[in-house]
């Protein structure tokens, strides 16, 4: 067997999170109307400002067109054929984990996210979201001692309405883009984080998103606020069962960093990506944006994107505060017929702002993997600097990689650097490693993780190894 055949086998590994939890679910009927939005809002007993926010977004959305510039080439989504709200049947959110349906706890156990007191991760607080609702958040009390708020956004809406009203939709306005408008109209749950002045969040925060039903859309909404001199590191993970239909996922994440604060947001995205013929998988349309409002604030995005049939995602930084810093570190792995169009926007508004972009795309199978990024230097961004590095690795000879860097500068005293490279794992490189006793699979995974090292170094310690394993798993298979 030739190396390229072997490579082909290597990159098609069964998805191990594809199980479905058999649990009674409350679903509303398919389709999207104003009444559906009112129904969602009333089910969640939301204050009026939020209903108005949703309705405003819905009206905008009706006037908007689904974007097609990313050339992702997927069949038209029928937005009336989607269920916009589903929740495992249980009364209200439980005060204690003991009251949570054991099937749900078992599901998260199986996903490697134990929630129960005895087994949960010792230094990571977790918010677990199942279909449209948050089912549990660990370490809430311990965090509250430091004034840190970590809860589902539904809870925040009811318990801290003034904070939510003040910040929601201020970074990603409800009419920002088609998918953001849709999310603003129907979002069901997600995480809320608030770090008060001068507080360094004492543990990692993490949300784990699980899609379980096949016909519902998942629209989560995350809002993170770091007050002056506050800092936090947050990680999200996601998986979904294998269905032969496509599931829509349209999330919005907003980050707000005030003076001298820092937010580090990491993602390990492993939604089901469809089978080797491209049947099924998640359509992942995500708007993530952070605003460095305060001077010297910092927002850092790291992402490892391995799943989804389609990924459309550009975690961005608005660098408004003087001397603020934006970072984007990305690994995107596509295989089979997956398509990913991902990158970032670094919008330099304030003086002496700095941004770094490191993007690593790995394309295998017949997949298509594109980096799309904007670096913009506004008229007041004197002394601003950007450095971008976009590298692509091709595995096999049927995958494609593209890089679309957009650069706009209205400031002559700003510096922008862009480097790009493309490489292919060659038969000779593999043979070299093999001839030193290193097996084929290990050789491929060594080269892939070497390629991604700059990005993995940015992930929180606990997850760097996890991400490395995840890539190895995606690339693992039977040899010979």
């Amino acid at each position: 067997m030739t190396s390229s055949n072997l490579l082909g086998e290597l990159v098609s590994k069964p998805y191990k999170y594809g199980f479905v939890t058999d649990i009674e679910t409350e679903k509303i009927s398919k389709g999207l109307t104003e009444d559906v939005i009112r129904l969602i809002s009333s089910k969640k007993q939301e204050p009026e400002f939020l209903l108005n926010f949703r309705l405003k977004a819905y009206k905008q959305w009706l006037k908007m067109q689904e974007p097609d510039w990313a050339e992702l080439g997927y069949p038209k989504v029928n937005y009336q054929d989607i269920i916009y709200y589903a929740a495992p049947k249980q009364n209200q959110k439980k005060a204690s984990l003991d009251e949570v349906d054991p099937k749900l706890l078992e599901t998260f156990d199986k996903l490697g996210i134990p929630l129960s007191e005895q087994k949960r991760l010792s230094n990571v607080a977790v918010d677990a979201v199942f279909d449209s609702v948050s089912i549990a958040t660990t370490y809430k009390e311990q965090l509250a001692e430091h004034g840190v708020i970590f809860c589902s956004i539904s809870e925040a809406v009811n318990e801290y309405p003034e904070l939510v009203e003040r910040y929601l939709g201020t970074v990603v306005p409800c009419n920002d883009n088609f998918f953001a408008a849709l999310n603003s109209a129907v979002f069901s749950d997600g995480s809320f984080v608030y770090i008060p002045k001068g507080i360094e969040c004492p543990m990692e925060l993490s949300s784990y998103f699980r899609i379980n039903s096949g016909d519902i859309g998942q629209f989560e909404r995350t809002l993170i606020i770091a007050e002056d001199r506050a800092s936090v590191s947050y990680l999200e993970g996601c998986t979904a069962p294998m269905f032969d239909t496509n599931t829509l996922h349209a999330a919005v994440v907003e980050l707000i960093a005030l003076e001298d604060s820092s937010i580090k947001y990491s993602t390990v995205q492993n939604w089901y990506s469809g089978n080797e013929e491209g049947v099924g998988g998640i359509y992942n349309f995500v708007t993530k944006r952070g605003q460095c409002r305060g001077a010297r604030s910092k927002i850092s995005w790291s992402q490892v994107e391995t799943g989804s049939a389609i990924t459309w995602k550009y975690p961005s930084c608005i660098l408004q505060g003087e001397g603020s810093v934006g970072e984007f570190y990305s690994v995107a792995l596509t295989n089979n017929l997956q398509k990913a169009d991902t990158g970032t926007k670094m919008v330099h508004i304030g003086a002496d702002t700095k941004s770094t972009i490191v993007s690593k795309g790995i394309s295998a199978g017949k997949s298509r993997n594109s980096y799309r990024g904007l670096v913009q230097m506004g008229p007041k961004a004197s002394g601003a600097r950007n450095y971008s590095q976009c590298d692509s690795m091709l595995i096999g000879d049927q995958a494609s990689a593209n890089t679309y860097p957009y650069i706009r500068s209205q400031q002559s005293m700003a510096s922008i650097e862009h480097e790009a490279s493309t490489c292919r794992i060659s038969e000779d490189q593999l043979f070299y490693l093999q001839s030193r006793g290193i097996g084929f699979e290990e050789a491929v995974s060594m080269m892939v993780s070497g390629f991604c090292r700059d990005v993995f170094n940015q992930l929180p310690m606990e997850f760097a190894a996890e991400a490395d394993k995840l890539l190895a798993l995606k690339l693992e298979g039977s040899v010979g």
Partner: protein
């Protein structure tokens, strides 16, 4: 060193191989015993490098006929990594650059794969670093090599030293050194040759592929073979290499009877 009672390490019989459907090897016979150093010489395109790739198991080279036994075991059915683990080593003519993979980590994984096969304890990063530093001295290499990516940005000479370093770590039974001398200045050649001599033991064997006598001045072969037309045309002692240096290959090729000759 020739010892008639020594173990037969490698036995090649009637080996035919092709690359891209182009026959290159057309019946190679060769026996190598423990303790011996063999040199294979010959013009470009005579099949020397193909022989080395076939022995190491490169997937582009197809064996159509013949067999190769390594210590009595069929070598040709084994994956390249298994050949390496049981003690077959190829020092590459053109070592490949592998960006992003740290040389130190690569050397450790490689060494441990061999140690695992030998059922000796695998080395953790600290123990390995100690071992590798002692081997670096043998080749007068700067430890900075360890921190770089595998062969990336190495000069030609540095790449060749890195090959011998790998040989020193893997402690193979049978080593093929494919034009290890090319691209080395005279000082580097001496260092590399001294390293190879140091690593040559009575229970191991070496096959040197070279164009030049100058390597054979430093490493004295027990046998010299001349390849041409995909076969071994002549076998002699180290004096054969001197003769070739003086008179070239033509007289040998004219003497040999090959049906493919024009």
């Amino acid at each position: 060193m020739i010892n008639p009672d020594a173990e037969l390490i490698l036995e090649i019989s009637d080996l035919h191989a092709s690359v891209d459907d182009q026959p290159i090897l057309k019946g190679v016979d060769l026996k190598i015993h423990a303790g011996e150093i063999h040199a294979v010489m010959g013009r470009n395109g005579s099949g020397k490098s193909t022989l080395s790739k076939v022995l190491a198991g490169h997937p582009s080279y197809k064996v159509s006929k013949g067999k190769v036994l390594f210590r009595g075991e069929d070598l040709l059915v084994l994956e390249p990594e298994v050949r390496a683990r049981i003690g077959v080593f190829l020092g590459f003519q053109y070592p490949v650059e592998i960006p992003g993979v740290s040389n130190l980590e690569f050397l450790r994984v490689s060494t441990n794969s061999r140690r695992k096969q030998l059922e000796v304890e695998e080395l953790d990063p600290f123990a390995f670093e100690e071992l590798v530093r002692s081997r670096l001295n043998l080749l007068q290499m700067d430890p900075i090599f360890l921190e770089r990516s595998v062969n990336e940005g190495f000069s030609g000479g540095e790449k060749k030293r890195n090959e011998i370093l790998q040989m020193a770590l893997l402690e193979p039974i049978f080593s093929i050194l494919d034009e290890t001398d090319s691209g080395l200045d005279i000082d580097a050649l001496r260092i590399v040759a001294a390293g190879v001599n140091e690593l040559s033991k009575k229970e191991t064997a070496i096959l040197l592929i070279t164009h030049y006598q100058r390597l054979l001045n430093e490493i004295t072969p027990d046998y010299v073979h001349v390849m041409g037309f995909g076969k071994i045309l002549r076998t002699g002692g180290s004096e054969l290499a001197l003769e070739l240096e003086k008179s070239g290959y033509e007289w040998l090729e004219e003497e040999s009877v090959s049906p493919l000759r024009p």
